[in-house]
């Protein structure tokens, strides 16, 4: 059993029932073979020897080289590095948007394509990607609408998710009537309606001001604890990486590869007071050293 200790540690306290994740899990893999495979393979995010080469004509760029990682179920990881280090590409491999040239990527033991087909992950993009002609609730319910759920169910779940991100009362608003921070929260709510086992986030707070960002960090952590979802988040902010991670995966460019993995031992129940913790400063310094190391 490769499922590491951390995931077991959270087994006892998982409040999946709130999000109905147990039901999702049973329904996620309808065929017996996949279910058996899913039960024996790492339950979190797993990558082994991922290479990604982009080809355009005779020109080719190695975006990722030999990337391996193991993020236990229910834990939080961030990908950090200078631009062009392939952190978004690695996230997109898990989201089945980029096909790896070589190597294996697994989400709860299944390939990204199967994970996408079974909707066990949810993607939060860099911009909030709201459809401007849809009201906030219709934007948030989009994922459920596409999965073919009846209207009453999807509105109920969308309202639940909106309340969770603090957007109650904005159901009927259009995206253009909301601030950037509120739209980003709506995008997170849209991801949560799917009750995902994995939350894949690509610089979700990149465009926000520091005050909003601070607040959303701890809102996200609270939601993650409530749902027990596994997080993989791309960032270029050192403090964001420390706050949101059990594991910070440091990447270096040309070719993109994982240079170091730093464990952050803040456990659960993190609060904004964390910034005053002396270990926080140490982690930041350690991370900064790792980022500035010559490749």
């Amino acid at each position: 059993m490769r499922g590491p200790a951390l995931s077991l540690a959270f087994e006892g306290r998982r409040p999946w029932h709130w999000m109905g994740l147990d039901i999702v899990m049973l329904n996620a893999f309808p065929d017996e073979a996949t279910r058996v495979r899913a039960a024996t393979l790492p339950a979190g995010l797993y990558a082994d020897g991922i290479d990604v080469v982009f080809r355009r004509g005779s020109h080719s760029v190695q975006a990722l080289k030999d990337c391996s990682l193991d993020i236990p179920r229910g834990s939080w990881a961030t990908l950090i590095g200078a631009s062009g280090c392939g952190k978004s590409t690695l996230l997109r491999v898990f989201a089945d948007i980029v096909k790896p040239t070589a190597g294996t990527a697994l989400l709860h033991g299944v390939s990204p394509a199967e994970a996408r087909a079974n909707r066990i992950y949810a993607l939060v993009q860099q911009g909030s990607t709201m459809l401007p002609w849809r009201s906030i609730i219709d934007n948030v319910a989009l994922g459920l609408e596409i999965s073919g759920l009846p209207k009453s169910t999807r509105y109920a779940r969308a309202e639940e998710a909106l309340a969770l991100v603090g957007l109650k009362g904005f159901e009927k608003s259009l995206p253009s009537e909301l601030s950037g921070g509120m739209r980003q929260r709506a995008a997170i709510a849209r991801a949560l309606t799917l009750r995902p086992r994995f939350l894949l986030m690509d610089e979700p707070f990149g465009a926000l001001d520091e005050i909003t960002r601070d607040r959303l960090h701890f809102e996200l952590l609270r939601i993650l604890e409530e749902t027990g979802a596994t997080l993989l988040l791309v960032t270029h902010s050192i403090s964001e990486a420390v706050i949101l991670s059990d594991k910070v995966i440091v990447m270096t460019p040309r070719p993109g590869r994982i240079s170091e993995i730093i464990e952050v031992d803040f456990g659960r129940g993190r609060t904004p007071d964390l910034r005053g913790d002396p270990r926080f400063v140490q982690y930041e310094a350690q991370l900064r050293r790792a980022l500035h190391q010559p490749a």
Binding site: A95, D96, I97, R116, A117, R119, Y121, A122, L123, Q125, Q126, G127, S128, T129, M130, L131, P132, W133, L142, G143, E145, I146, S147, L174, P175, S176, R183, L194
Partner: protein, 268 residues
């Protein structure tokens, strides 16, 4: 909205604010009609070239039945052809979007079809199908389908990478992507094209009537011109213009009513 701002900027908001935008063009048209009336009264404009506005107006009240009969025919042809053309254009755009093979095969011919001056084929089509509504509607449809076809084809195939990625991650089917993303985001372009087609529909209907019909405003313009009944001719021309404006107005109204889709196309 601060009142000091709306006084300075052209506003297209609520009704009271819009009066400021409507007034100047109304003043202009009233001034032009007065000028026309004055110059016709003093004989500056010869009567055989442009009769006085009173004469043209009199034509509307004295021969309203005749005008109405011809106008009804033209409206039927133009609207029928417009609807048929727009549907065919939209249908073609959907088909070529969904079936890449058909797109490769047919797109060059769709472009080439624009080069055919369809109106000059009217005599031939009249020989084939006879006089009457059907050939004119077909000619109008052929002449107007293209803007809708091209705009919708472009709109449906102008893909927003983020939206496509989102729908991909949600495991959406191609049909869901078409209905939920590609069609809504191409509506602004579609409405622009409908406006182009709408005026084209009336022009084509009028010109086709010169050759292929003995009823309709185009026929009335031609015949009254030949008999030097200038007031009748001008009344017919104004009727045709009013109908074109009415159709354009209707399209603009629908566009406004669908403002969520047509005015908020900016990226969010």
């Amino acid at each position: 909205m601060s009142s000091s701002l709306s006084g300075k900027l052209p506003e297209f908001g609520r009704f009271p604010e819009r009066i400021g935008a409507i007034l100047p063009p109304v003043v202009l048209i009233v001034a032009l009609i007065l000028l026309w009336s004055w110059s016709a009264g003093t004989g500056l404009l010869p009567k055989w070239l442009l009769p006085s506005p009173q004469a043209v107006l009199g034509e509307f009240s004295h021969h309203s039945a005749t005008l109405l009969k011809h106008a009804r025919m033209t409206a039927f042809e133009a609207l029928g052809g417009f609807a048929l053309g727009a549907l065919a254009g939209a249908g073609g755009a959907f088909l070529l979007t969904l079936v890449p093979f058909l797109r490769d095969m047919l797109y060059p011919y769709a472009l080439a079809s624009r080069a055919i001056p369809i109106i000059v084929f009217t005599p031939l089509i009249v020989v084939m199908l006879g006089r009457g509504l059907v050939p004119i509607i077909l000619i109008v449809a052929f002449a107007t389908y293209f803007p809708v076809f091209l705009a919708l084809l472009r709109g449906l195939n102008t893909l927003n990478a983020d939206r496509m990625e989102l729908l991909h991650s949600l495991s959406a089917t191609p049909l869901q992507i078409l209905w939920k993303i590609r069609l809504p985001s191409s509506l602004p372009m579609l409405f622009a094209a409908l406006k182009v087609s709408a005026s084209g529909a009336f022009i084509t209907a009028l010109v086709t009537e010169w050759i292929g019909s003995n009823v309709g405003l185009g026929y009335l313009v031609m015949v009254s011109g030949q008999y030097f009944k200038l007031a009748t001719m001008w009344a017919a021309i104004f009727s045709a213009s009013l109908m074109t404006l009415a159709l354009l107005g209707l399209i603009v109204l629908i566009e406004r009513l669908m403002g969520r889709y047509t005015s908020l196309a900016t990226e969010v």
